[in-house]
């Protein structure tokens, strides 16, 4: 196999890594918001439930969570949900691994939503009471205060910790190969097994590095753009 062929084959895998990255961000980031509000709820049971969920999700390895999501439908309901999706999508559309990918996306979205929720909570709680009170004495409603005064300050504060999580996320996508999703490292391992080529495995690092480089520049720009005020 030529260098170009190997690169193309690895890139096919990296597309799956990018898909997991994008969907996790798109689902996990919004899902973190209700979890954050529940964690701050004054209604004790809601707060307790949400804290326990966050504790569990942050407390056990993501790889284990992928296994749990993937195997639990079969164990509890004797129905291999994700295996069935795999089969169906392959027979109908010729798409491989779709069920496994869905399992990974669910596990990742929940996992990252919990991490994001803690970042949101920290950001919201770090805004001083005085900002709310200044809004109140000007006759504004709670929702006006949140949308027009608090939100932007929270965003400014959470961009750096969010950047860290986002960069961790692209590297975490490699965990998907624990249930044989053909992301980039799985493809590289396949080359090692079938073609006795070990260098592609190391070469995958270059893909991550380039993508992380781009992310770093982009997120740095966002941070800079928001630095025009100091709260």
């Amino acid at each position: 196999m030529s260098f170009l062929e190997v690169t193309a084959f690895l890139f096919d895998g990296f597309k799956i890594s990018l898909l997991i990255f994008a969907v996790t961000l798109l689902c996990g980031a919004p899902l973190g918001l209700p979890i954050a509000f529940c964690s701050m709820s004054r209604f004790k049971p809601v707060k307790a439930i949400s804290k326990v969920i966050v504790w569990i999700v942050r407390g056990i390895p993501l790889m284990l969570q992928i296994f749990i999501i993937y195997y639990v439908p079969g164990l509890l309901f004797n129905y291999q949900l994700f295996g069935q999706i795999d089969r169906y999508m392959y027979i109908e559309y010729g798409i491989m691994d779709m069920g496994r990918i869905v399992a990974v996306l669910i596990a990742f979205s929940i996992n990252y939503a919990c991490y994001f929720s803690e970042i949101y909570r920290g950001g919201i709680e770090s805004i001083s009471k005085g900002q709310y009170e200044a809004g109140y004495v000007l006759g504004l409603t709670k929702s006006q205060i949140f949308r027009k005064i608090i939100l932007k300050q929270v965003i400014q504060r959470i961009v750096p910790p969010m950047s860290n999580e986002i960069i961790t996320l692209i590297k975490d996508t490699a965990l998907a190969n624990c249930i044989m999703v053909c992301e980039i490292i799985k493809n590289a391992k396949e080359l090692a097994a079938t073609k006795a080529m070990i260098w592609p495995l190391f070469f995958t690092g270059v893909f991550y590095l380039i993508f992380v480089g781009l992310l770093t520049i982009l997120l740095g720009k966002a941070e800079k753009k928001l630095s025009y005020f100091r709260s």
Binding site: S128, G130, Q131, E133, A134, G135, Y136, V137, L138, G139, L140, T141, K142, Q144, K148, I149, K152, Q153, Q156, Y228, F229, R230, S231
Partner: protein
């Protein structure tokens, strides 16, 4: 007819009674200064008037309109309406950091749809000029000194033309050389007949600017009267002690 009547208001946090039985009146255009040692309940009183705390009992009457009569179940809407009778300037300004000086002033009137945007902007520019910050219109709060920030906070409160403007130690967070510019603005407001309640540790300022002074101690009004009465002829021992200790520093 008084513009503000406060009758027997009480406020406790859990078991500690912070305001025990506060009553006073204020006439339109008058300036009331509230003095007293720290922890005596001055901030809590202002917060009750501005409905940032729910008063436990008593009455708050503005312009013959009973805003609060001991019934704690007010809707959010009613509370917002009540708040607009008062303005409050905080000790630490609480400007909105992501907005410019101009935007800090126009935000609330725009959201409350007080007038069209052009009118609001012109009004804001006029008030900014009044507090002497016309060259800082497009600055962000972090680019201003403390004294300038506090003047913006005053201007922001003025935008909603409150009937009574309250100040909670407006110069306590400022370096001594910056207090003058803020006190000057307040003095000008008095000359313009703005009704004000000022909690302050600046005894000389209170003496010069007020029509009426209240000395609070442990949640009660220990003494109340004209500045001459309180500062020249204090009756209670506690006020005498307070005045002599605050003259020292």
């Amino acid at each position: 007819m008084s513009i503000l009547e406060v009758k027997n208001i009480q406020k406790s946090f859990d078991k500690t009674e912070v305001l025990k039985d506060i009553s006073f009146t204020l006439e339109k255009g008058e300036v009331l200064s509230i003095i007293g040692s720290s922890g005596s309940g001055k901030t809590t009183l202002l917060r009750c008037l501005n409905f940032l705390e729910t008063t436990d009992s008593g009455r708050i009457i503005v312009d013959n309109d009973i805003l609060f009569d001991g019934n704690n179940k007010m809707t959010d809407e009613k509370i917002r309406e009540n708040r607009l009778n008062f303005g409050l300037v905080f000790q630490n300004f609480n400007l909105f950091p992501q907005y410019t000086v101009l935007e800090n002033l126009t935000l609330a009137p725009t959201l409350l749809k007080k007038a069209d945007n052009v009118t609001i902007k012109n009004q804001a520019l006029e008030i900014i000029k009044k507090v002497g910050l016309e060259d800082k219109v497009d600055f962000y709060p972090c680019q201003l000194s403390g004294g300038q920030q506090q003047r913006v906070a005053i201007a922001r409160a003025l935008m909603l033309s409150p009937k009574i403007l309250c100040f909670d130690e407006p110069t306590s967070a400022l370096d001594p050389e910056l207090t003058g510019e803020v006190l000057r603005v307040i003095r000008e407001l008095r000359d313009g007949n703005t009704t004000m309640i000022i909690v302050t540790h600046e005894m000389n300022f209170a003496k010069n600017v007020s029509d009426k002074v209240i000395f609070m101690a442990d949640g009660i009004i220990e003494e109340c009267g004209s500045p001459e009465e309180l500062f020249e002829n204090p009756k209670s021992l506690r006020l005498k002690e307070f005045l002599s200790s605050s003259l020292k520093d």
